[in-house]
């Protein structure tokens, strides 16, 4: 009848499998990040400054870099680049200034999330300096100019002649309220 293992052992093994699969669901989160990072997919760029060596400038071709800014739902800052696009040679280091203005009467914290398309270009877009590496705290009515300095790798595949750097600006004031004492900042103003 029961040629195999006892019901008790079978059930505990199956229960272990359930717990394991529950853990696997959470393991999918780091796996997802690692995969996106390893294959440079999903348009994700690195969250830290590029410290690699600067390659030789490839003057035989040029790339058009376009800038897009979006406010996430509920964000009412005015936020945008100084120019919509620039043309550069791969290997060059260039800079673009983004301006943010807090029109409200409350200090607010914002986080910009970058995304590069086409997504396969993300791995070749290096930022040596970016306001997206940190969060921005703006006092009521404050305006700030924020630079992003970047290199397009000379190894960029030849068929990519145009790439878009898109920023989405999120309001993270509530999220940061616990760690940042906004009230005291208001007083020091």
């Amino acid at each position: 009848m029961s040629e195999g293992i006892s019901t008790k052992r079978l059930v505990s093994r199956l229960a272990l499998l359930v717990v394991g699969m529950f853990g696997f669901g959470f393991l999918l989160v780091p796996i997802y990040d690692v995969m996106c990072d390893a294959f440079g997919i999903n348009g994700k760029t690195r969250g830290t400054a590029y410290e690699g060596t600067v390659s030789a400038i490839d003057e035989t071709r040029s790339v058009r870099v376009q800038f897009v800014s979006t406010n996430a739902e509920g964000m009412n800052w005015s936020f945008g680049p100084a120019a919509n696009q620039l043309v550069m040679h791969p290997g060059e280091t260039r800079e673009m200034i983004f301006t943010a203005y807090n029109p409200t009467d409350k200090p607010m914290v914002a986080q910009a999330i970058p995304s590069v398309s086409p997504s396969k270009a993300a791995a070749y877009f290096h930022k040596t300096e970016c306001f997206c590496f940190t969060q921005q705290v703006l006092q009521p009515g404050e305006r700030v100019e924020m630079p992003v300095r970047f290199i397009v790798d000379a190894a960029l595949p030849g068929e990519v002649q145009r790439l878009t750097l898109a920023y989405t600006l999120f309001d993270v004031t509530e999220r940061m309220a616990a760690s940042l004492d906004l009230a005291s900042m208001q007083h020091s103003n």
Binding site: S2, G4, V19, M21, F24, F26, V29, Y32, I41
Partner: protein
């Protein structure tokens, strides 16, 4: 075999307890199976009423009956209730009733857990349905509950929805563990794995799928809960998370889930067609391996639900070809069913009608699935009524016709009476015509670009939508006839023999009809 019947006589007086507590406290697989089936039928009528509201609103273009906010709650609740409340519990109910009878076991391996897994369901769905009456309404983000719709922009009741999914998930995991333990450890002597009826085989594989993916779903809703209440950012880009990741995790569960809903139907149809063709099933072994192959492949195709989110070209190619590969084992099954019928002595009683319709209409749903699997074409079809037509063709004449076929096939065993064949055939033809009227035009409006989940539509879709609604009302009303047929069959009718179907095979037909409260307390010999 005679030993079994003798035993039944010795067993008189050990019937069920009396009164309501019989049902609350029962550990009997037949009682629990009946409760599962009644519960799922109640959910089927509730989810169906929501579909009626949806189709009534879509009867004409413009907004007539309900507001868009309520329409969203109806599409969401219809999907959730039909998937988790109607189809899945119906198959667990059939498994409870039939698996012990088919393998010669006295009961399920874990009868008390069986009771608990059933009683979690009314709690789960009570919770889910209660959200419709809360401030801000019930879930309105689609049954796929994509973040951030289901997190940042969700109504406050989403927390109740999350706990309802947790409870329903725990219930199906416990049910699956119970079924695996029963099949692996309680088979009668001589019942080797490759002698098991196909319903038992498909349920064994389904149970492993459930154990593998329901915990992942539980993980996904737990992450939502943490994003909403505990400040984490699994799916929130502002905090470093990614909403697209939700879709990956959801469909890692969701694709095996659609096979969880169809594999047991493959099993019952593989038993019913041979019975009414009076021929053994063609290609039993290939059926078992095909089921295994479908289950295995179901883990490698999830991203075909999300071709349009911007996955890399190599990814689209991989998921496209992997998806098309599933057509091979599914084709094996369809050819086996057709070969079983070929040159058989066919008769068309209600179970056979539903099974033959299953083979034809499920294949149509499979073909539209192949069309959707083509990544470049999917960009046109994505989120249109073509998708709605596709999955209703695999779920209504697939899963639900499979359940109806099983119900008519085993009703004589359950009740001891024959059902009314004329009414049952009426039920079949009304369902068949109604369901095709409702869902076939959706292919056309979908290809023409009508988006799903929207309460209003372009004037040019008006005629097809009216036909769809009429078909849906016809299909919906016919299910009340099914309720009447079942009640009539329970209350009386011609006495059913132990084996009412001439060509039927299996241990369940060796016990009298109705099946006594306790069966196979002494295991039968299987040669």
């Amino acid at each position: 075999m005679s030993a079994v019947i003798d035993h039944h006589h010795a067993d008189h007086g050990h019937g069920p307890a009396k009164g309501l507590m019989r049902w609350v406290l029962t550990t009997n697989h037949k009682d629990i199976g009946s409760m599962y089936l009644w519960f799922s039928f109640a959910m089927f009528l509730l989810g169906g009423s929501m579909a009626m509201i949806i189709r009534a609103e879509l009867f004409q273009p413009g907004l007539q009956l309900v507001q868009p906010e309520f329409f969203n709650q109806m599409t969401t609740s219809h999907g959730l209730i039909m998937v988790f409340g109607a189809v899945m519990p119906a198959f667990v109910g059939l498994a409870n009733w039939m698996i012990p009878l088919m393998i010669g076991a006295p009961d399920m391996a874990l009868p008390r857990m069986n009771n608990f897994s059933f009683w979690l369901l009314p709690a789960a769905f009570g919770l889910l349905i209660s959200t419709l009456f809360m401030e801000g309404g019930g879930p309105n983000f689609g049954w796929t509950f994509y973040a951030p719709l289901s997190t940042t922009y969700a109504p406050p009741s989403v927390t109740f929805f999350i706990f309802a999914i947790h409870l329903a998930g725990i219930s199906s995991i416990m049910g699956a563990i119970n079924i695996i333990a029963t099949i692996l450890n309680l088979r009668a002597p001589g019942m080797t794995l490759m002698k098991m009826p196909l319903f038992v085989w498909t349920w064994l594989i389904t149970a492993f799928l459930l154990i593998a993916v329901m915990p992942v779903l539980a993980g996904a809703v737990t992450m939502m809960l943490m994003d909403i209440h505990f400040g984490t950012s699994f799916f929130n880009a502002a905090g470093g998370g990614d909403p697209v990741m939700f879709q990956h995790i959801f469909w890692f569960f969701g694709h095996p889930e659609v096979y969880i809903m169809i594999l047991p139907a493959f099993g019952t149809v593989s038993m019913i067609i041979p019975a009414f063709a009076r021929k053994p099933l063609f290609g039993y072994t290939s059926m078992v391996y095909a089921t295994g192959a479908i289950a295995f492949l179901s883990f490698a195709v999830w991203a075909h639900h999300m071709f349009t989110v911007g996955i890399p070209l190599t990814g689209e190619l991989f998921f496209m070809y992997a998806t098309m590969l599933i057509a091979v084992p599914t084709g094996v099954k369809v050819f086996n069913w057709v070969s079983t019928m070929f040159r058989g002595s066919l008769t068309f009683e209600a179970p056979m009608l539903f099974s033959v319709a299953f083979v034809i209409l499920f294949t149509i749903g499979g073909f539209s699935g192949l069309m959707l699997a083509m990544a470049p074409a999917d960009f046109q079809y994505h989120d249109t009524y073509f998708v709605v037509a596709h999955f209703h063709y695999v779920l209504v004449p697939g899963a639900i016709f499979g359940i109806f076929a099983s119900a008519y096939y085993w009703l004589p065993k359950w009740t001891g009476h024959m059902y009314d064949e004329v009414l049952a055939k009426t039920h079949f033809w009304m369902s068949f015509i109604g369901m095709n009227l409702a869902f076939f035009p959706m292919h056309f409006v979908g290809l023409a670009g009508m988006p799903r989940r929207i309460p209003d539509y372009n004037m040019m879709f008006a005629n097809f939508n009216m036909v769809s609604s009429i078909g849906a009302f016809m299909f919906g009303a016919t299910q009340l006839l099914f309720l009447y047929i079942v009640i009539k069959c329970i209350r009386g009718g011609p006495k059913a023999a132990a084996k009412p179907w001439e060509g039927a095979e299996g241990l369940e037909w060796t016990v009298p009809s109705p099946a006594p409260y306790h069966t196979f307390t002494t295991p039968p010999e299987v040669k």
